[in-house]
Amino acid sequence: MKKFDKDRLILALGGPVLAIVVAVALTSVVLVASGRSPVQPYALMFEYAMHSDIQVLIVNQAATYYLAALAVAIGFRMNLFNIGVDGQYRLAAMVAALVGASVALPGPLHVLLILVVAMLVGAFWAGIAGILKTTRGVSEVVSTIMLNSIATSVVAYLILPAQFGEQRGNNLTTGEIPESGWFPGIDLGPAGEVYGFVVVAALCGVLYWLVLNRTRFGFDLRATGASESAAIASGVDAKRMILTSMLISGAVAGLTGMPILLGDSHTYSLDFPAGLGFTGITIALLGRNHPVGIALGALLIAFLDKASATLDYNGYEKEIATIMQGLIVMAVVISYEAVRRYGLRRQQQKVGEELAAEAAAADGTDQKTRKEVSA
């Protein structure tokens, strides 16, 4: 088994390393082609990211991304493509903020209520796609795209002062959540405050791993993703599985907005960040649906997002970072695929070698077994 372990290490590290190298190289090509220094932008970004306040920003942003990506990844593990995380978290954050702002409960309970509401709303919105798929066979790709847009309208309607919202200056908000409903952060002094929700996000990752890899339910879910037909034959109720995983995915999506809502803005307003769901897709892909991979992916994208701010001050276009994100995703998936193929080939080779050796060694006994069998 020793040999396999070494291979595995190569396989595990080969993909990402190859990818980053290729992506950086390609970005440099773009930079050179447009007459820029091919290395200075990286130097600037790294230097900028060395500051502790930027690091706090990166970590906070990564936590948000992480939750969005986990939500996407749960679907991916089942071969479900939940493009709707975006709509799910926006609707969930808005309703949760409304509820949170309109009740007063003792600290932990208040937070808990907000979280439960967010998860329920997220699950509900994803559940619509789940039900449409299981009962009517509507592709979740299409239905979640539609539901994203519908969520936009629903939020726009609910937040009207005539409905549940309030107007504050030129902004519409849900009203402020009282302090009992805030999630305490980790104060790092001048560097700022790390969202307390970072811990929750990490816990979600652990839970994700545990459930998927160590429980019967997780096994069923992965089996369904690997081969729906085999899973059904093995006793999985595929429809229920689709609905369940859609609900879970939606519930996690519902948490996506919580780090910001509970740790920073304490209200849902028109400028609440949108589009996190799509970044989540990218990150889930980067992290190959693995909780650690996703964490790294989230940090990487958050780094590019935040550190690229410095490019503007130094005469570079911030878009360099966006280009890099695209190239990284492309390079990562291509190199993963290349490495995966290499791995499979190696394995097949090994199986062949080992069997040949065994056959050669056992040629005599082989004949004997056959005789026995036919006797």
């Binding site: 447009s34 449409l132 509507v138 790709v141 795209i145 847009s149 990218t282 695209g326 995703v329 998936v333």
Partner: protein
């Protein structure tokens, strides 16, 4: 006993599940819907729902979606999922405008198509040559396209007179034609608000008024795609790659080649859609102009059952509801509530007849809710008007999705010589 081969199949052949509605039946359906719409228009007085302007706006809004959907069709028929359509649309807008500003709109069209095709090429390299998951590659292309066009804009448009880093200078417009006489006649007829006649006049009028040449080109692409894909050897080979690439390979079809061609054509169509946005829908390139139309196009294609005619219908539905929304939405959408309620009543009757009582119950309840809603308000809040196209799509899909059928090998990675 020795002639089994000459006997008809020993087993009962599955009764053919693919009976299609004939042209006459389709026309009946269309006529039925027109009748209903006309009736609803007269009841509600929302004459806007079949006006000339409505149709003409719907057509213009449908074109980019339809072109994206055609792009999706070409790729998926060859077995490649193309969720990168959005990115290819973006490339189309940028390249189209970039060339259009400098060398005139028609050069813009060509370069825009090439720009989209470039995105397609990238997608093909990733998915066909490297076997990357199609969705992953598509998402990557979407990100790349955003980054690349922004980056490029700051070198090009920003330096041009009247341009900025987000916007190109105006592009000369493409000739628009209006069929003389017919257009006015239809408009007059439409204004009379007669039952059915005026509605048909509105439809026809919309199709012959203020037509950009590019619109005509785009519309022609639908039957042309249909013809090429289903009536030529090239199309047959291409489709075979989406149904069973291995079988195609065993007959000497170069599967890689056809997939490459298909995905590049797919990108080209999306590129054309982008050019349309930049040159006809408006006259500038503008960051964020595509606004998710690539995704909607994909939805329209699935809605249309991977068929050119169907996807045109899907794009038309989006265009129509979008245009309702933009043209004094509240009242029109209010009228549509009634239409929908009536349709749901019909669906209830049909489901009851087919003894699908659950479906019938769901349809009946939804119909009732809509009817009550219709009666209780005069105008639908604008927030919901905006949602109308998406809700409509969901509803139609929920009613018809089980009949949809994707190409069999779509989304599957295929390796030459690795067949069973």
């Amino acid at each position: 006993m020795s002639t089994v081969l000459t006997k008809p199949a020993a087993q009962q052949p599955k009764p053919t599940a693919r009976r299609r509605l004939t042209l006459a039946e389709w026309m009946l359906v269309v006529a039925g819907i027109l009748l209903l719409v006309s009736a609803v228009r007269l009841i509600t007085g929302a004459h806007g729902i079949t006006s000339v302007g409505q149709t003409s706006t719907a057509l213009r809004l449908a074109v980019p979606i339809g072109l994206a959907a055609l792009g999706g069709l070409w790729a998926e028929r060859a077995g490649v999922i193309n969720i990168g359509l959005e990115g290819m649309l973006i490339l189309g807008t940028w390249f189209g405008a970039w060339a259009g500003v400098q060398w005139g709109p028609w050069t813009g069209v060509v370069v825009g198509i090439l720009g989209g095709a470039l995105g397609g090429l990238l997608h093909a390299i990733a998915t066909v040559t490297f076997g990357v998951n199609h969705i992953v590659s598509g998402v990557a292309i979407n990100i790349l396209a955003v980054g690349a066009t922004r980056y490029l804009s700051s070198f090009t448009f920003e330096e041009m007179e009247g341009g900025t880093s987000k916007q190109s200078p105006p592009i000369e417009s493409i000739t628009q034609i209006t069929v003389p006489g017919l257009s006015d006649a239809m408009r007059d007829l439409n204004d009379k608000h007669w039952f059915l006649v005026s509605d048909v006049a509105g439809l026809v009028g919309g199709l012959v008024t203020n037509l950009s040449l590019l619109t005509i080109l785009a519309v022609v692409m639908v039957p042309l795609s249909r013809w090429v894909l289903w009536n030529t050897g090239f199309g047959l080979r291409l489709r075979s790659c989406g149904e069973n690439p291995l079988a195609a390979e065993t007959l000497g079809v170069n599967v890689y080649k056809y997939k490459y061609i298909a995905v590049m054509i797919s990108g080209g169509f999306a590129g054309l859609g982008g050019v349309f946005l930049a040159e006809v829908a408006s006259n500038i390139y503008q960051e964020g102009q595509t606004g998710g139309r690539g995704y909607i196009g994909l939805a329209a294609m699935i809605f249309g059952n991977w068929m050119p005619g169907g996807l045109a219908l899907g794009a038309g539905l989006f265009g129509y509801t979008d245009s309702l929304n933009l043209r004094g939405g509240g009242q029109n959408v209010h009228a549509l509530l009634l239409l929908l309620a009536i349709l749901l009543v019909l669906a209830t009757a049909w489901a009851t007849y087919r003894r699908k009582f659950l479906t019938a119950a769901v349809a009946a309840v939804s119909g009732l809710v809509l009817f009550v809603w219709y009666l209780s308000v005069d105008e639908v809040p604008s927030q919901f008007v905006t949602a109308a196209p998406y809700v409509a799509t969901l509803l139609v899909l929920a009613m018809s999705a089980q009949r949809l059928r994707a190409p069999k090998a779509v989304g599957k990675s295929y390796r030459k010589g690795e067949g069973a």
